[in-house]
Structures are given as structure tokens and as C-alpha cells.
């Protein structure tokens, strides 16, 4: 945080709590961005896998569970992939919602803190 040039504004406990809350939200926001990126990648991979599956004419597909590749029929793998896609999509939706909520709360806090401290506080990303 920037150090103001000997400013007069007093910092109350409520201000401190707002600053703490902003910090927490900001941290969670960055974590969410990472999680969303990973969820999107997983979605893409599942999409690719599903497409490959349609193209292949092999009946037995090696599907990875844990560290091994089990031999499964094409249909079983198809339904497995569909299941996984559903789970990932729901998860992605939830993460995006949380991210929007974070952004809204952070905007609110910025208004309050900049309102009181103006230049003495810096809440932007470096």
C-alpha cells in the first residue's frame, strides 16, 4: 500500500476492517481466476476427447482412471465423458458467479475507501 505524505486522515477500526476485507476478496479473486482457467481447460479437453471418440472406429477405448488406463467400450466412455462435462460445467458456472460477486463487493469497498482516503490509499493491481 502507498504511504501518504503525512496525511491527516485517521484510520478507524472500521476502516481497518474494510481494508482487511478488500485484501481477502482480492486474494480470493486471484484464486478464482486460476480455478476458472483450469475448469475451462478441463472443459476443452473433455470436448476434444469427445470429438476424438466420435472419429475413432475402435470399439475398445483406453480410459484413464487414476494412474491406469482401463479398457472400456465406446459407449461407456461416451457416458463417462458426458458426466464429467456436466460436473465441470456446473462447477465453472458456480465459479463465475462467485467471481462476479467478488468484483461487485470489491467495487463497493473501493468506493468507500477511496471516498475517505482519496490518494492516501492504493487499491489497484501493481
Amino acid at each position: 500500500m502507498q504511504q501518504g505524505g503525512g496525511s491527516e486522515t485517521e484510520v478507524t477500526w472500521e476502516d481497518q476492517q474494510n481494508i482487511n476485507k478488500f485484501g481477502r476478496l482480492n486474494n480470493r479473486f486471484h484464486e478464482l481466476e486460476d480455478e476458472i482457467r483450469i475448469a475451462k481447460e478441463t472443459n476443452e479437453n473433455l470436448e476434444d476427447a469427445s470429438n476424438e471418440l466420435i472419429l475413432t472406429d475402435e470399439e475398445v477405448v483406453r480410459f484413464q482412471i487414476g494412474e491406469v488406463f482401463t479398457h472400456m467400450s465406446k459407449e461407456e466412455v461416451e457416458s463417462k465423458i458426458e458426466q464429467m462435462q456436466e460436473v465441470t460445467s456446473k462447477n465453472l458456472e458456480k465459479l463465475e458467479e462467485e467471481k462476479d460477486s467478488m468484483l461487485a463487493q470489491m467495487a463497493e469497498l473501493k468506493k468507500i475507501l477511496y471516498g475517505k482516503f482519496k490518494d492516501s490509499i492504493n487499491l489497484e493491481e501493481d
Binding site: Q2, Q3, G4, N20, G23, G66, V68, F69, T70
Partner: protein, 187 residues
């Protein structure tokens, strides 16, 4: 120390007291601005160390949880195959890039790696129960850890703000003293 309206500590981590008034804080602690600043900087470093430790623990747990979920997946797959009478064929890695084929017959039990070079045989149901319990424990530990991290980060923020305020107070004091020492010359 000036009044603190915060939690005084959490699981062995001391809380950073909030300073209501810098002047009173310095008078009560008997420190001048520079000593106070060094003390606060030291506290900040200690908090940062704790944060590093917690982050490392968090990474470990976050790696452990998908592992347990994969184990549960495999056991579930074995259980599904059980009814059909077919053997489960799986390719597994023997060494980097080299795979071998395993034919897993209908089975009622699995072996679970417990760590410390110990592997135990369990019935499928017992295995699922054990893995579920481990998964729940890991998730609960992760939650507590995240709470700890939030607490430490809050204390870091409080300390950083206090450092800024003590510094500003000091700058303000110097300016006032300078202004006071130059005015007599004007008279």
C-alpha cells in the same frame, strides 16, 4: 498497547493489535517512531513466514484430495465390474513410457497404500468407507487451513497499515517541528 477490537490470537498465531491513536501507542509503548517501525517490520516478517508455511501445507492438501478421489473412482469401477463377471483390463505404467497390461478378475477386496511402506487389504466396502473418511478429513483440514491463512493475511494487512500510519505520523511531526523552528526567525 492501544486497544484491540480484534481476535487476540488464532491457533498459536498472535493477532496484531489495532492502533487507535498513533501518539498514544508510541507514548504507551515508550518507543520512538523508528524503534516502533523496526518492531512492526519484524512482526511483519514473522507473519510472512507463517504465511509461507501455511501456503505449503495448503498445496500439499490440495494435491492429496484429487488423489483420494481417483482411488475412490477406481474402487467404484471395480465394484461396477463385479456384477458382470467380466475381468477388467487395464494398462498401467511400469516405467517411463513403458506400459503393461493387467487383467483384474472379479474381486471382493482391494489393497490400499497407507504410506510408510504399508499396504493393507480391505474389502471393497471397507475401502470405500476408509477413503471417504480420509477425503472428508482432508477437506475439513483444508477448510481450517484456509481460515488460518485468512487470519494471518488480515494481521499482515493490519501491521502494514500501522507501519504506514506510524511513518506518516513521524513525517507529520518532523514537518511541524520544522515549521515551529523557522517561525521565530520571522518575528
Amino acid at each position: 498497547m492501544a486497544s484491540s477490537s480484534a481476535v487476540s490470537e488464532r491457533r498459536g498465531i498472535p493477532g496484531a493489535s489495532f492502533v487507535e491513536d498513533v501518539q498514544i501507542y508510541l507514548t504507551q509503548s515508550g518507543l520512538d517512531a523508528n524503534s516502533a517501525l523496526s518492531f512492526l517490520q519484524e512482526r511483519l516478517q514473522q507473519y510472512k513466514l507463517v504465511e509461507m508455511r501455511l501456503l505449503a501445507q495448503q498445496r500439499d492438501l490440495q494435491a492429496k484430495i484429487p488423489d483420494i478421489e481417483k482411488c475412490l473412482d477406481i474402487v467404484a469401477t471395480l465394484q461396477v465390474k463385479k456384477g458382470t463377471g467380466e475381468a477388467l483390463i487395464a494398462d498401467f505404467e511400469v516405467s517411463e513410457g513403458i506400459y503393461s497390461r493387467a487383467c483384474i478378475e472379479d474381486t471382493d477386496s482391494v489393497c490400499l497404500w497407507l504410506g510408510a511402506n504399508v499396504m493393507l487389504e480391505y474389502s471393497c466396502e471397507e475401502a470405500v468407507a476408509l477413503l471417504q473418511k480420509n477425503l472428508e478429513n482432508a477437506r475439513a483440514s483444508l477448510e481450517v487451513l484456509v481460515g488460518d491463512l485468512q487470519f494471518v493475511r488480515d494481521q499482515v494487512t493490519v501491521t502494514q497499515v500501522t507501519i504506514a500510519r506510524v511513518y506518516n505520523w513521524d513525517v507529520h511531526q518532523r514537518r511541524s517541528r520544522q515549521a515551529a523552528s523557522t517561525t521565530p526567525k520571522e518575528s
